[in-house]
Structures are given as C-alpha cells and as structure tokens.
Symmetry: C2
Subunit: 268 residues, 2 copies
C-alpha cells in the first residue's frame, strides 16, 4: 500500500489542515473507511448515511452527500484502494464550547492498493485492555480512538491479525478494527453495541444479508465463554469484508462452517 495518499481538505488538494482544528485539539469529529474497487467505493450511500448519522449524534453539521461525492470525484480515482472520510468541528476559539459559527473540516484521503478478494482465515488474540462503557458515544465512529490505538499496540507478532476486545464487564464487544460475529447452534450472533464499540457498515451489511439468506440472526450480549464455545468466529470490516478466525489463543477452528457462504453474501 502506497505511503503517499491523495488528500483533499474541504474539497481542495491539500495535505495540511489548521493546527488548532478541533479534530486535533479534542478528537472532535467522526470518520468512515471505505473499500474502493476499481474506482468504485463500496456501500457508498450507506457509508455516507452512517457518517451523517454519527456527525448528527455529535451535533456536527455534516456536508450533503453531494459534497462528499464531489470530493471523491475530484480525486479522479480509477484504481482500487482505501478511502477515509473524516469530518471535524473545524477551528474555533480556545476551549470546549462549540464554536458559535462552526465551519466543519472535511478530509478525504485515498491510499491506492487492492484489498484481498478472498476469504482469509486469521489468527487473533484477546486484548488486555477493556473498553470503557460510555453509552453516549457507543456505536459512533468518532475520532477519540486511543483505546483502539493502545489495544493494537499490545502485540507485535506479524501472524496475529486482530485483537478481540471486551468491555469493563467482560462482555465481548468487537475486534480492534473490526466487528465480531459468532455462529453457535444455528444462530449468527453479534454483540450489542449500546455501551461501547463501533457500528461498522460491514456489520450492518452482514446482519441484513445473512437474514435475507435465511440465517437466524441475533444482536445480543456475548461472553468470552460464548466465543470459545462457538462453532465459528468471524470478523467484519469495510476493507477485508469478512475474516474467518482460525485460532484464538489455544482454541482452533479447523473447518469453515458458514463463513464461506457469508463471504459470498457480503462480497456480492
């Protein structure tokens, strides 16, 4: 993946933004990461809707879908890669109060490089860090991501692809950069995200598509024991789409059960 992304700030080619932007000062903003395939961003409308929802939740005025589309068109992307859309509350006077006349900042960045196009089996670990429970921010993909940063810093092994995060009450929530699904006795389950975690678009897509394909789907509390008891463990995000977990600590899942079919559902 290239180290030199294409970037726009407020629609203009630029690699910089105001040093006192509230995005830096307070992490006051939201973002989304999209998979781009031969110049086409996957799930564009849904991702923009999700970005808009999250922005509104923080009482941040989100630019219209047309403005985001125009930004993306400006990049003139024809190849595959990763697109990140970021919206901050922009600059303002010093201090926490919202600016009286907010001028949000949008950052659009594209990293060329194709993502995998097949279902991968990966090794994951359990993270030591426990996610804090904060219902006001739960589900939102905001810019306060120090928990993810610190959790990701827990391991260096190249063969470990992802870490599983629990919250302070030992409920399983997600991966560091993915959402989690388990397959257990004929039911596809994914954790409730009403206390912490990020509601990713790939998670929403899988919930919907699996249900449409006839699977019984449940959003519920999941314990660590449920993980180890599951017949299959999967992780979703917008870039990989779906990973199948082959190993978690000493527990191994040797044979795929439904992951190959769910990959087809999601990839379609």
């Amino acid at each position: 993946m290239s180290a030199v992304p294409l970037t726009l700030v407020n629609g203009q080619p630029a690699s910089q933004l105001a040093a006192l932007d509230r995005g830096v000062s307070y992490g006051d903003g939201v973002f989304r990461t999209l998979r781009v395939e031969a110049g086409v961003p996957r799930w564009w409308d849904a991702q923009i809707a999700r970005l808009t929802h999250d922005a509104q939740h923080l009482r941040l005025v989100c630019p219209s879908p047309e403005i985001w589309k125009s930004d993306f068109d400006t990049l003139q992307v024809a190849e595959s890669g990763v697109l990140r859309l970021t919206l901050t509350r922009g600059e303002g006077p010093r201090g926490y109060p919202f600016p009286a006349f907010p001028q949000p900042t949008r950052i659009v960045a594209f990293w060329p490089g194709a993502q995998t196009d097949s279902l991968q089996s990966i090794t994951v670990r359990l993270c030591d860090l426990r996610l804090a429970r904060q219902p006001v921010l739960a589900g939102i993909k905001h810019l306060n991501r120090l928990e993810n940063v610190l959790a990701r810093a827990e391991w260096h092994e190249a063969d470990i692809r992802e870490g599983i995060l629990c919250d302070a009450r030992e409920q399983v929530i997600s991966g560091v950069m993915s959402n989690l699904f388990i397959w257990h006795d004929g039911v596809l389950k994914t954790p409730l995200l009403d206390q912490c975690g990020v509601a990713g678009e790939a998670r929403a897509q899988l919930l919907e598509r699996a249900q449409r394909a006839g699977y019984e789907v449940r959003v519920c509390q999941i314990s660590l024991q449920d993980l180890f008891d599951a017949q299959e463990l999967m992780l979703t995000n917008s870039l990989a789409l779906l990973w199948r977990v082959a190993r978690l600590q000493t527990r191994e899942w040797l044979t795929p059960v439904i992951s190959a079919h769910l990959w087809e559902c999601l990839h379609a």
Copy 2:
C-alpha cells in the same frame, strides 16, 4: 481574548499540520494548558514534567524540556495569555499500529489576553453526561476529549461558568475544565482520579500547598451528597487557578470559608 493565536508546529511558525496526523485521525496525543503572566508561563517545569509523564504513558516519545523551552522562546511572548502545548504521535501509515519510526508533532500555541487575578465566585451546574471509567487513560490529559466537549455543550447560560461531572457510578470526578475540591469538617478533599478525569497541575499545586499550609488534605471518593453537604466547594485549573463555587443547582454557599486563603496559597 484574541482570535488569532501565535502558533508553532515543530518549532517553526506555522498554522497548519499534516491532515493525516494521528492527532486528528485518532486523538493520539497529549496536551497541557498554561497560564502566562507577563511572558512567564506559570509552573513551567511541573507542567512539562506532567506532559512528559502523560506522553510516556501513551508510549509517545516526548521532546526534551529544552525543546519545549526553545519553542516558547521562539514565540517571544512578553504579555499575559494562554499557552497550549500539544504533542501527537505524528504521521504514519494508515491504521492503528504505532508508526515504525514515529516522528511526533508538537504544536505550541499562544493566545494573548490576561486571566483574572482575583478569586471569583461562580455558579456551576451538574452535567447529565457521566464519564466512562477507563483506568488505562484515567488522569491523563490526552486528546480524546469528546466527553468534555459534549458535557460543555449541555448548557448555554452565560452565568453558569462550569459543569460538575460524575462517573458512571455516580462518583463526583471533576469540572468539565477543572478539578474539584470540597471543604468538609476541617478536611480538604479532592476526588480520586484512578478511573477517569484529568490530573491537572493546579490540583497538584493546591494539594501540596494546602498541606504545607497546615490543612488536612485527602484524595478520596466523593459522592454527590458530599458536595451538597460540604461547607465550601472549589474548582482549580491552570488558568483561573481557583474558583469558589457560590451556587450549585439550588444549593448556595454565601460566605467564603477557606477559599480566600487557598487562593493566596495558589497565587503565591
């Protein structure tokens, strides 16, 4: 207070930083705010020590005190105002992992304008938002400040100067932009910050100076009931130094008890 601060990025006069700096992408960094009096930043050594401590806690390499001092000298500040020192993990490849060769970004900003030089009596409110409990980040003045931003957005009344924050277990933690002290039956108490909150330098100074002045001082759990039962309520931060709370909801404290003396201790 001027709307146009003086800013340096990595020691150079600049008003911009990289749009993909991890400070923006993840709030991956720390900061401190200092009161500057006629060109002299108050508690400089202690503030730099605190910034360094917080950075190390996030495994961020902090520039030496000499580098921060050199940055401040570059500003050639002779007047009073507010100084903010920010350190981020800088740019890196996309994603949560620490960059292999981190190049932290330091942002030094100065807003001219004198702070108050007398003890003020203020009206405060109780915030609805409850701080999440996250021992890994408790006490650290990091850039993930959405809770403070949202708590501060709860009120618009100009006569309400500060909001009081409790955590998810209804323990009183701090103000939105200050630390809290209560005076009760001859003991000066301030909340434990082992689950959330920011350990401000003014708090540390008051703890030390009050003890030296002969007060009995205690860092402990404080309930909402303790607040209303207290004989005096005070808030500290590096800019105001000390506020005396005159009113919280319907509870009023008409006569100062020890706040005037503590102001003298802190201002000295």
